[in-house]
């Protein structure tokens, strides 16, 4: 069966510090991968998606970036965090041939102080 992992589970970072969140998927090959942010009491906002290694599409202009160095690894980064970057970050995957059905990881709660 497929599983998706995210780490760290929680993170407290000062404003201006860098960020690296990691997501890995097991049990499937060539997945589509997604990064979402969920602010408190709000819906999910798609940040990035990837259809393959090195292929990243950005949905929202911001100080975040994403990379996909391996087929089942997706990384969310920032060089300098802002207070507004606080939130719950979710990674998701979908099967290449059934793109619409997305499965989510456990999430990373980020607090920028």
């Amino acid at each position: 069966s497929q599983t998706i992992h995210q780490w760290p589970a929680t993170l407290v970072q000062p404003v201006g510090s860098p960020l690296s969140l990691e997501c890995t998927v097991e049990g499937t090959s060539n997945p589509n991968l997604y990064w979402y942010r969920q602010a408190a009491g709000r819906g999910l906002q798609l940040l990035f998606y990837s259809v393959g290694i090195g292929q990243i599409s950005s949905e929202v202009p911001q100080n975040l970036s994403a990379s996909r160095p391996q087929d089942r690894q997706f990384i969310l980064s920032s060089k300098k965090l802002l207070l507004s970057d606080s939130g719950f970050y979710l990674c998701a995957w979908s099967v290449r041939t059934v793109k619409e059905t997305q499965y989510f990881g456990p999430g990373t709660r980020l607090l920028v102080l």
């Binding site: 995210q6 589509n32 997604y34 009491g41 709000r42 819906g43 999910l44 798609l46 998606y49 259809v51 599409s57 949905e59 979710l90 979908s94 793109k99 619409e100 059905t101 997305q102 499965y103 989510f104 990881g105 456990p106 999430g107 709660r109």
Partner: protein, 114 residues
């Protein structure tokens, strides 16, 4: 603008009763819909999906109904249990599946009273 929304932000039901969570969508071109359950501090969990060529789909204790005429989606949970307490999101696919991009509603919080 176009959006996926929910009629009720909160819903409180008695254990054992049936729950109905509603969702309205505005893009008539959307052809795929998903319901997710999100417990506090966890990622959304896939519950059930439905394509626009169907009106109804049933799972274990859950049923999704799709009314394309009025662009309305509902999730019915039979014999609601305390473990069903969570936020429920509907999501729609708008781009024909080219990238699998989903648009999510803000969610309805379901509270089950023992």
């Amino acid at each position: 603008g176009e959006s996926v929304g929910l009629h009720l932000p909160t819903l409180s039901v008695q254990e054992g009763d049936n729950s109905i969570i509603n969702c309205a969508y505005s893009n008539s071109a959307s052809d795929y819909f998903i319901w997710y359950k999100q417990e506090s501090g966890k990622g959304p969990q896939f519950i059930i999906d439905i394509r626009s060529n169907m009106d109804k789909r049933q799972g274990q204790r859950v049923t999704v109904l799709l009314n394309k005429t009025v662009k309305h989606l509902s999730l019915q949970i039979a014999a609601t249990q305390p473990g069903d307490s969570a936020v429920y999101f509907c999501a729609e696919n708008r781009d024909g599946g080219s990238q699998g991009n989903l648009i999510f509603g803000k969610g309805t919080k379901l509270s089950v009273k023992p």
